[in-house]
Symmetry: C2
Amino acid sequence: MTAPTPITLDHCLALDADDPLAGFRDRFHLPDGVIYLDGNSLGPLPAAVRTRLERVVEAEWGRDLITSWNVHDWIGLPARVGDKIARLVGAAPGSVVCADSTSVNLFKALAAALDLRPDRRVILSDSGNFPTDLYVAQGLVRLLDRGHELRLVEPEGVADALTDDVAVLMLTQVDYRTGRLHHMADLTRRAHGAGAVTLWDLSHSAGALPVDLAGAGADLAVGCGYKYLNGGPGAPAFLYVAPRLQDAVRPPLSGWMGHEAPFAFDLDYRPAGGIGRNLCGTPPVLGMTALDAALDVILDADMAQIRAKSQALCALFIDLVEQECRGHGFTLASPADPDARGSQVSFRHAQGYPVMAALIASGVIGDFRAPDLVRFGFTPLYLTFSDVWDAVAVLRGIMETRAWDAPEYHRRAAVT
Amino acid sequence: MTAPTPITLDHCLALDADDPLAGFRDRFHLPDGVIYLDGNSLGPLPAAVRTRLERVVEAEWGRDLITSWNVHDWIGLPARVGDKIARLVGAAPGSVVCADSTSVNLFKALAAALDLRPDRRVILSDSGNFPTDLYVAQGLVRLLDRGHELRLVEPEGVADALTDDVAVLMLTQVDYRTGRLHHMADLTRRAHGAGAVTLWDLSHSAGALPVDLAGAGADLAVGCGYKYLNGGPGAPAFLYVAPRLQDAVRPPLSGWMGHEAPFAFDLDYRPAGGIGRNLCGTPPVLGMTALDAALDVILDADMAQIRAKSQALCALFIDLVEQECRGHGFTLASPADPDARGSQVSFRHAQGYPVMAALIASGVIGDFRAPDLVRFGFTPLYLTFSDVWDAVAVLRGIMETRAWDAPEYHRRAAVT
C-alpha cells in the first residue's frame, strides 16, 4: 500500500485492517491511555504470563514445594527455555541455555572465547556496543592480567580492524542508541578469515528481527530476556555456543548446575557435556517461567511478518515525524535504510530529555539516551499503525505548545 | 519443660501451646497433608509473597511498565533487599546486596578475596563445603592460571591448616549434609592471625540461626535466598563485603549495575562506591520482589526465639527417632550437641534413598543426600512440635512395615 501525500490517519487505519499480526495485541496486557514505544527496553506483560505465574507460585512452589524440581521439571527449565529462544535466533536445539543476566553470560562467553585463542590478546568491539558489554570485558581483562586489550573502533570501522591479533570480535548486533544493524554473516565471515572468534550480543535483535546464528556461522552469542522477548523486568538472559565448540568451552563460572552430575555432590568439577556446562547456579524459576510463557506468544508469530511490520512501523514513524514535526529540531539518528536498522528509531534533539519526559507524561512512552537521543521502539505484536499516528500527534502537540519546557520535565530521574 | 520418659504426643502439644512463634505458621501457605521438613532446601510460600507478586506483575510491570524502575524503585531493590538480609546476618546497612545466584556471588567474592592477597596462592576450604563452592573455586583457579591451589581439609582440621600461605579461608558455616556448625568468630580470628581473608557461605545459616558477620570480623560472605529466607525457587542470592574493604574490592564481574553512573552510558567502567559495585546485570525484579516480601515475615520474628525453637525441634526429633525407631538402622550423622548444629538433622541409613522416597510419598518431606543421608530441616516459623511427633510416627510405620522396599521408592529422580 503506497502512502498518500500527506500521510493520513485513514491510511494508518487501512494498514491496521490489513495487518496479519493484528490478533496478537489481545495477548498482551496494555494499560489504557498508553502508547508503549519502549518494548525494546522492557516488553509488556503477556496475558499468559500472569496465568502461568499464578500457577507456578500457587500449585508448583506453594503446593508441590521441593518436589517441583522433578514433577514440574524445574530442573529442565534452562534447556527448555533455551530451546525456545534457539528457534528465534536460528540456533539448533541444544545450543542455547537460559541463565543469569546478559552481563554474566557475556563474561562467560568472552572468557570462553579468549580461551579458544590463547595466543591472541585483542578483544575487538565498537563504540556503539552497549556499555555493560564493554565494562564486563574491561573487568575480565583486569582479572586475567595477561595483557589483553579491549580495542574499540567506530561501528563503521569494524571490518577493517579485523587484524590477525584479534582473538574475539565482540559486537552487539543492533546499536542500543540508533538501531544501526551490523551484518552478522558478513562480519562473522571476515572475523573467521582473520582467525578470530565471534561473540554476538543479540539483546536488541532476538525477537525483533530474523537472526540466523547457525547460518552466519557465529561462535558465541548472548542476549536479553526482558526486551523483545517480553519475559518481564530483569528476566533471565541466554547464552549460545555453536555445537562444534560446546565441548571445547571451559566455563569460567563453573557452578553445580553445569556439572556433569550436580546431585552426586562430588568434590571435583566435571563439566556437563554440551551447552549445559554453561549453567552456574540454581535457575531463577519464577523469572524463567515468566519468560517461558512469554516466548510462546512470539513463537506463534511468523518472524518474517514481524520484520516486515517492524520496518513498516519504523518507516511510518520517520515519515510522520518529518511531516508533522518539521522545524521542531528533530534529526534522524537511525539509519534511513530500513534494512540497516533494527526495530527502533531514534532522533537527536537538543531538548531530548524534557521532550521525552513530556511525551511519557502524555502517555507516549519511549526513552531517552544521553546526550540527546529520544528513542522509540516498534514492536509489531502489540502496536498498530494508528498508534504511530497518535504518538506523532502527541509529539506535535508537545512541540507546538512547548509543553516540554515545564520545570518538572527537566528533573532527571534515577533511571533514564 | 522437661520431656517425660517416654516422650508423648501430649508433651509435644504442650510445647506447641507454649510456643511464642506459633502465630507465624498462618503467614505461610502450607499444603494439607504435608509435614514439610525441607525448608532448608526450598522454603515454602509466604502468603504475603503471593499478594506482592500479583501487585508487581499487574500494577508495576503490567500497568506502569518501564516507569517502574523509578516510580516503584525497582532500581533500588538490590540495596533494599540487601539491607533486610543484613539485619539477619549481623551486617551494617549498606554492606549486603541482593544479586545473582550464590555460585555467581561466590565467584565475585573469591576473586575479590584473592585480589586482596596477591602474594598468596592457597584457597583453604573443607570437604564439607557445598560442592558448588568448590567447583566455582576450581574454575576461578583455572581461569586465573597463576598457580592458585584449592586446598581441602576435613572440617575438624581447618584451624590447624591456617598456614601463612593461605590467601582465603572459604567455608560454608553450616554443613549441608550434617548441619555441623563452624565457629565463625573463632575461625575468622585465627584466619586473620594467619593473614588470610575469610569468605563465609551462609546458605544454611542465614535465617536459621543468629549470625554476626560484623561481630566476627568476617571479610566477605555470600548466601542463598531460597532456603531459610523463603524467597522462592531460585531466588536471588546475596553478597556481603565488610565496610572496611568495600572500596578495595575490584569486581571481576564488572557490569553496568555496579557502575558509578549506569545511566550515563560511558564507555569506561568506574566502580560505584560501596557495596553497589558488586552488582553486575539487571536485577531479577520478580524473584527479588518475592524475596523482599518473604523477608518481612522473618524480620518480624525474634532470632533468639527462632534459634531456641530450632534447637528444641531438632532435639525432639533426635530423641523421638531414638525412642520410636530404635533398631531400624538409623545412625545420627549430625552433631549431638545442639550448639554445634545448624537447623537440620541427618541420619545415615543403608536404605536412605528408598526410606526418604517412602516418607515423601506419605507426606513427610525431607531429602536425601548421597551416599546414605536422610536429611530433615526444622524451621521454627511454620513447624510445630506435634509435626515432629507426627513425622516420626510416619517414619516408624514405614520402617515397621518395610513400606520403603516397594520398587517405586528405589527409582532415582533427576533431582534428589
